[in-house]
Symmetry: C2
């Protein structure tokens, strides 16, 4: 189903440039991740991989070589479950000049130890004296460093913020059909259940700076970027994707992030949130707040009265006890080895997911409404913080990246609505197709791999390795693997290594955009690959090519 | 216990001016609220009352006349349960010149219909032609207007924001020992379990403007105040007290806000929150983020693995089923009429509150840790939004009001820490003793009651009634009811009605402090009582008296 809808997204995009978002791409399951690892032969192809191991999700970028002689170019993950295929079709890009296809996939970090254990069981280091080096970023690259080392893999760790910014800068300046905004229909108010959103793709900007990147992973970072290698993490919040998924995991009976996202599609948060109308009995006209504006997330829960101990209420409590015990018993049946699969097949698990974990409130509040309330709470809050930081930093654009958004229509529309609302339509939220893979992409392009194909110490990588993998420097053709019409535009000149010249870190001047009386210190100790050409012509050339490609596809 | 600790707060404050916060004051229970209503005789004394009916809490300000001839001045709520007495001792002020004592109390709005029903059953209107008018503000003043009307009470509704600002301005310019900041001990880091906080009382400022009021009720409003009757609601968020209590009500088995607050005292949020150390295995040194900084609220929940269906795990599931069923059965026993009280007396209810409502996670996460995590999440977030808005609006001070804070040490320390952290110690969070009663106080003082003791229509009250109750204009002595050393300083000149001259609403000029290129429109249609004297000498006189009083008390 997800695969089919993914195709629908693609076909629409190809004709109009405006897409209706239908389904978010899905995570690769643990079994799939292990199967991919088995096929890839990690230790032989370590230079084709880049990792971004975050708090909740581990993102993998993998360049798969084309198998010569095969009639149909099949990807290793084609042979795996359909969920993975849907994910591939949404995000993979075939690059013949690279000699392969770039795949982006992710699995949950809590399974990483099993993955590493799997590597240990299946492979032995090819050369004990020269360990296989994989580029990696994110907190997990430091935390699980020893774990990987034990199986003969050396993680060449890179700074997370630097990689994320490098990845985004690369996308912004080189990819067409990557950045999009959404049109929110007039009926999409805070509190309304079903947003209809349409994507509008934005042309790559020759000079996207300055901008604010709001990177929503487990936590949230607000990064002000004023040039190819000049950025500063200006703020952050602990209320991000981890909060949403963590809360929903306790509040509902869902077992994966995707199950929660699936739940929210049928939700109506106005059954859980306290609206202005619930307090005022109508609109608060003096402040221009409509009756359906959310006054307090989860506020309706506080409005429910505690039942007084009467016999009538006791009968209700008795019914709850029976329902609650039955719910627990269903979970017990599903947990049965072997037999549990039969109950799952009968749809008992799915039915269980639709109920709140709190049996006392499960009659009053539906799990889907609670999940949507949590999603909107986090989305609105992050968007508001992003807007306020953008005003303070004086930047005109906000890009929303990180694995929380993942093209989910409710998240996208909530963030867009909030930015529209607070900025009075002066600012627009911008989203990315590869939003979750900025760090992995930055890690992949952020080191000149073939020149330094040796054990790269952490010190040297973070201070000198400024060039991208050399193969990226050749002229790259673009050929989408699936029917998806995302056109990626690659570098113009073949073998032009000067496109990524290694630069020494110069002292960075403070931004003219910064607020008065506030000292800004840019992270001069974290140099970034200077991905964007200094000559304006080159960039313009790319944009022209991108436009031509699109015009051709449309005609 | 609460009464005793309340006294301790008072005695410490009297000697040093610095207090260690021990216990937050407690809400008046529904039974107490009804009993107060019974004693007060609402319909005979309606001019002694002011209401602020919010989304979660209804706040009541009541002026109780002194009963002549009684040896000991007893308050009506003295005769009620100790919880109410503790609350009174913390907040009530005896004002002989007013001929009575000002009491502040609150109960949950979800019980308001029962209170009104109670009025209907116990009293008949004294004069059918001239209904009793009670000053009221908050959304409920509009929503429950008809409900009150049916029992012969006319609510004279006032704008919520205007009353809140009027109440705060009155406190800031006239009350000593009202505003406080807290010293956070060096060990109080984000993530640390037990903050030790000390209150430092701030002298009343002769001219507190401009400032930002962050009013945390069910939802949150950020109001910029630039003069006695010039303010603007610049922003707001749905993530406030209603979210905290709503979330905790589903997540835990607590039945009241106070039970949750009590729970948080034994909590350790680092067991639930994903810290930087959980992602990085240590600090993220490049950004200066310690290992114990919260990266994602509720993030540790996402890190728990789902058990695979094995027989070993099934035994665990079986244990959970038994524990879960037992927990449900305990709730059923407590819900029994009459017999339930015995189980409550045996402490079964309290034990039930200490567990998560989700039986699958109740073995891994404690209810107190989850509640503290929610409290910190909301507190940090509100403080961060307040700070960002203060920067944008260019105001140097932030006051935190509303019923969410309620002197709870964790809330106070979390907000203080966050403002310190984001402003790099350039800004300080300021709290109020009567934080929850700003609206009720503003509603009480916002109308010249004796001059217009007739049915005041909504139109006329919001446009012309600018003077406070006339009795406030006489010289007011200060005499604290309990041992509490709060010294309230009242107006200097006896019978000086010019202190509250009725002013016509003039056109308001935009603030010089506002951000460039942004049009500010102050709410000129909501005039406020000009509480502050125009002459600087008068104010200075008050401050001097306040200082003298304190010096006397210390010596």
């Amino acid at each position: 189903m997800k695969g089919a809808s993914g195709t629908e997204v693609n076909s629409r995009g190809g004709t109009s440039g405006i897409e209706t978002i239908l389904e978010p791409p899905t995570l690769v399951r643990k079994g799939t991740a292990l199967a991919v690892l088995k096929r890839v032969n990690l230790l032989a192809e370590s230079n084709a991989l880049a990792l971004d191991i975050g708090g909740s999700l581990a993102k993998i970028l993998y360049l798969q070589p084309i198998e010569r002689g095969s009639v149909e170019k099949r990807l290793c993950i084609d042979f795996l479950e359909p969920v993975a295929t849907a994910h591939r079709s949404a995000l993979s890009v075939e690059v013949p000049e690279l000699g392969g296809t770039l795949h982006f996939f992710a699995f949950e970090t809590r399974n990483i130890e099993e993955c590493v254990k799997f590597i240990k069981e299946h492979w032995r280091p090819t050369n004990a004296e020269r360990p296989n080096v994989i580029r990696a970023t994110g907190g997990g690259a430091y935390k699980y460093c020893e774990l990987f080392r034990a199986v003969g893999v050396e993680l060449s760790t890179r700074d997370e913020m630097a990689c994320t910014v490098a990845g985004l800068n690369f996308l912004l300046t080189h990819f067409d059909h990557e950045v999009y905004s959404v049109n929110i229909s007039s009926s999409t108010q805070i509190g309304s259940p079903n947003p209809v959103v349409q994507r509008n793709y934005v042309d790559p900007l020759p000079d996207p700076y300055p901008y604010l990147l709001c990177h929503i992973g487990s936590g949230v970072s607000f990064i002000k970027v004023i040039g190819p290698n000049r950025f500063q993490r200006v703020s952050g919040t602990s209320l991000g994707g981890g909060t949403f998924w963590g809360l929903c995991r306790i509040l509902t009976n869902c077992k994966t992030f995707d199950e929660v996202i699936e739940l929210t599609k049928h939700g109506d948060n106005s059954r859980v949130d306290m609206l202005v109308g619930d307090i005022y009995g109508g609109a608060y006209e003096k402040l221009g707040l409509d009756a359906n504006v959310i006054a307090a997330s989860f506020g309706k829960v506080t409005m429910r009265k505690e039942p007084s101990p009467t016999w009538a209420n006791f009968r209700r409590e008795l019914r709850r006890f029976v329902v609650g015990t039955a719910s627990l018993f269903i979970h017990l049946l599903i947990a049965l080895p072997f037999l549990g699969n039969i109950f799952r097949w009968l749809g008992m698990e799915r039915r269980a997911h639709g109920t709140l974990s709190n049996v006392y409130f499960s009659r009053h509040f539906r799990a889907e409404d609670v999940a949507l309330s949590a999603l909107r709470m986090v989305s609105y809050n992050v968007a508001q913080l992003a807007y306020l930081n953008a005003v303070i930093e004086g930047v005109p654009r906000i890009y929303f990246g990180g694995s929380f958004v993942r093209e989910h229509p409710f998240t996208v529309s909530a963030i867009s609505y909030a930015v529209d609302f607070w900025s009075k339509k002066k600012m627009q939220a911008l989203f990315l197709v590869h939003d979750g893979y900025l760090g992995a992409l930055g890690s992949f392009i952020g080191v000149d791999w073939t020149d330094s194909e040796q054990r790269v110490t952490e010190e040297s990588t973070t201070s000198t390795c400024l060039s991208p993998p050399s193969r990226l420097n050749s002229e790259l053709g673009v050929n989408c693997v699936s029917g998806r019409s995302h056109r990626r535009n690659r570098r113009k000149k073949s073998g032009d290594r000067s496109i990524f010249p290694p630069k020494t870190t110069s002292e960075l001047s403070p931004s003219p955009l910064s607020v008065e009386n506030e000292t800004k210190q840019y992270l001069s100790d974290i140099p970034l690959p200077p991905i964007v050409d200094s000559t304006h012509e080159k960039r313009e050339g790319w944009t022209q090519i991108a436009r031509k490609t699109r015009t051709l596809n449309r005609s």
